[in-house]
Symmetry: C2
């Protein structure tokens, strides 16, 4: 691409780092910045730098926060006896957006992966076990990826909690709501038959 | 959308200003920034601010530049007798990327639009007329939008240059290369018939 200035080229290059943003989209974004008022651009860069400076991880659950503890951990309206175990803070945002879960979270920050050299001590499993011990937890909901790493992590945690009275459950896998049976893969369809649920007149909340 | 921090919300809001970027893409970009090293983020914001600070408009053609004159105006390899008249610096980038034009440019910075209150004196027409007078220009190639505003601007400029010996041409309108006749609109198809070109064995350059 022939650009009229190296400063412009540099911005296109930087913006192409974003996932899903190619050179053409990055150029469109760069030209938008070039056309915008200094003030608009400054407000954007300031917001980004402020976010990097002000956010950190909740010392209890590992979620993103601007304080010592996150909004979910400090909320008085959330059930204190359930922890949903997720890999990443993005998963917390995804589950929160469903508005169907009202308990606490624990962000592992990764999954056990011997292939990538990630062991149990590299992710926040020890902290989870300690929470189960010290907090009044009755259920752990495992919401991890349905792959080798997710299942290994789930298995490891459940073995570690063998002697504890906490109940461990996994999120349901199956055909997505509105999904067509004929397009589902065999493993998902198979699991959805094995894990079938009794018919209820109105959709239950599960909570 | 439920986000764990207001600093994060602010960044999502700021990034949604980009054309074609919705809330979901902005969130994906924000989470990428959140995960990235401080250094990576700082390099991005620095590049954006440097671009805003260092770029300005070429005093001759109105293109983006970091100097007094742009790279195209100062190039010794470009024909000095042809000016391609465009609306915006984006059009310069688009034409440069074709590698089929080797003359100079003149960026108007807008089109005459009585409806929007934009008159000839609001865009860089006076500067163009002066260039035709003082530089050894033999041809003006009008590469403006094929709409009311583009045609009004083209007409105004050509009237102003009635007494000059400079040749004025417009870029060809027609069916796009590889385009199907049946899907073209009537006006484009009609123009492509009226402005048909004699058959040549090998594609000419037009330059």
């Amino acid at each position: 691409m022939n650009l009229p200035s190296s400063a412009l080229e540099k911005v296109v290059e930087e913006l192409s780092r974003f996932p899903g943003i190619g050179k053409k989209s990055a150029l469109r974004m760069t030209l938008f910045l070039l056309r915008s008022d200094e003030q608009v651009v400054r407000s954007m860069t300031d917001a980004i730098l402020a976010m990097k400076e002000r956010t950190s991880f909740c010392s209890r659950c590992g979620n993103i926060t601007e304080e010592e503890l996150c909004r979910i951990c400090t909320s008085v309206n959330r059930r204190q006896d359930t922890i949903c175990v997720v890999r990443d803070f993005q998963d917390v945002i995804a589950i929160e957006n469903t508005s169907r879960y009202n308990g606490l979270y624990h962000v592992l920050g990764g999954l056990i992966s011997p292939m990538q050299g990630i062991g149990p001590s590299d992710i926040r499993i020890e902290q989870l076990l300690k929470r189960v011990e010290t907090e009044p937890i009755s259920e752990l909901i495992m919401a991890l990826s349905a792959n080798m790493e997710g299942e290994t992590t789930e298995f490891y945690i459940s073995r570690k909690l063998d002697s504890s009275k906490v109940q461990i459950s996994s999120i349901a896998r199956g055909i997505s709501v509105g999904g067509e049976l004929e397009y589902a893969d065999e493993i998902t369809l198979g699991r959805s038959i094995v894990n079938r649920v009794p018919y209820k007149i109105s959709g239950g909340d599960g909570s």
